[in-house]
């Protein structure tokens, strides 16, 4: 498949394919980059990193609720992936599914290590911005939003994963199914149950207030 890579990523990462075609590393499909990465090519892994770092960060950020832990755990996800990339077996599922699984395990350990979730004071937390919006539009910190995010973080991890893929990643049910290893129908059903449960939880919170 891939024949030769003769430029580092910083200089464009030009790759010569077995077909004779020359293209950039970042233009290759995951499957092709993975061949190089699994042979210990750090530029190839760097290309995968560039492709997935935002997604993994978003996933971890919405699961943990603070920027510091999200950065720390995102770094650990990629170090672990780098360490185990040689053992990666392509089973026809997206590469992101593997990264999400690593992230999921690390987040589970993180929750286990903390008996109580520590909220970082806003003053200490770096400001994040919504993607695709100008930098002056900082992250909305409304009470409603915080309450909803707290409820989401109390959902089972599978349901949190589903909501993040659906709303943050804007994936279709079929893509979510591929990533989570479920059928499209099962994803659709879980999605509806999750929304109804969340709605009931939210009504419960409003009644208590």
């Amino acid at each position: 498949m891939i024949y030769f890579k003769h430029q580092p990523l910083k200089s464009g990462g030009i790759v010569l394919l077995a077909s004779g075609k020359v293209c950039k590393l970042l233009e290759l499909e995951d499957r092709e980059i993975l061949v190089l990465a699994s042979q210990g090519d750090q530029d190839a892994f760097g290309a995968l990193y560039e492709r997935y770092v935002e997604r993994i960060f978003n996933y971890v950020y919405y699961r943990t609720g603070n920027v510091h832990d999200a950065e720390d755990l995102t770094a650990r996800v990629f170090y672990r992936a780098l360490h185990h990339i040689q053992n990666y077996i392509d089973r026809g599922v997206p590469f992101s599914a593997w990264l999400y699984r690593i992230a999921h395990n690390l987040i589970a350990n993180w929750h286990r290590d903390r008996s109580r979730h520590q909220e970082i004071p806003l003053d200490d937390a770096p400001t994040l911005h919504y993607k695709g919006e100008p930098p002056e539009v900082a992250l909305m910190q409304g009470q409603d939003r915080d309450a909803l995010l707290r409820l989401i973080r109390h959902l089972p991890s599978e349901r949190q994963h589903l909501l993040i893929l659906k709303f943050v990643e804007q994936m279709s049910n079929a893509e979510i199914g591929q990533t989570m290893g479920r059928s499209e129908g099962a994803v659709k059903s879980l999605y509806h149950r999750t929304l109804l449960a969340l709605r009931d939880d939210l009504e419960g919170v409003n009644l208590e207030e």
Partner: protein, 92 residues
Amino acid sequence: MGMGKRYVDISLAKISSMENRLSGTLKPVMPRKEFVNRLGQHIQTGYRPTFVNNVTNWHIYALLVAGMVSIAVFLAMIVRGLLENTNRERTA
């Protein structure tokens, strides 16, 4: 039949309103550029900050040190006991 349809309508309305709230809340965020660049450089160079290794294993090291100190104290007590015993036998 009418009751069933009404129930479905209520569920759909609930789902639709939840979807609206969620789409306003769960939006993609941008990680800090410094963080992305720094981690990217570390990954490219294969550099792994030592604190990441240490943070995950520090409690194992602490347990090891505590275990070794406990064993040393325990052995010292046994040796001291034996010495006192032999001294007593000699004086007797």
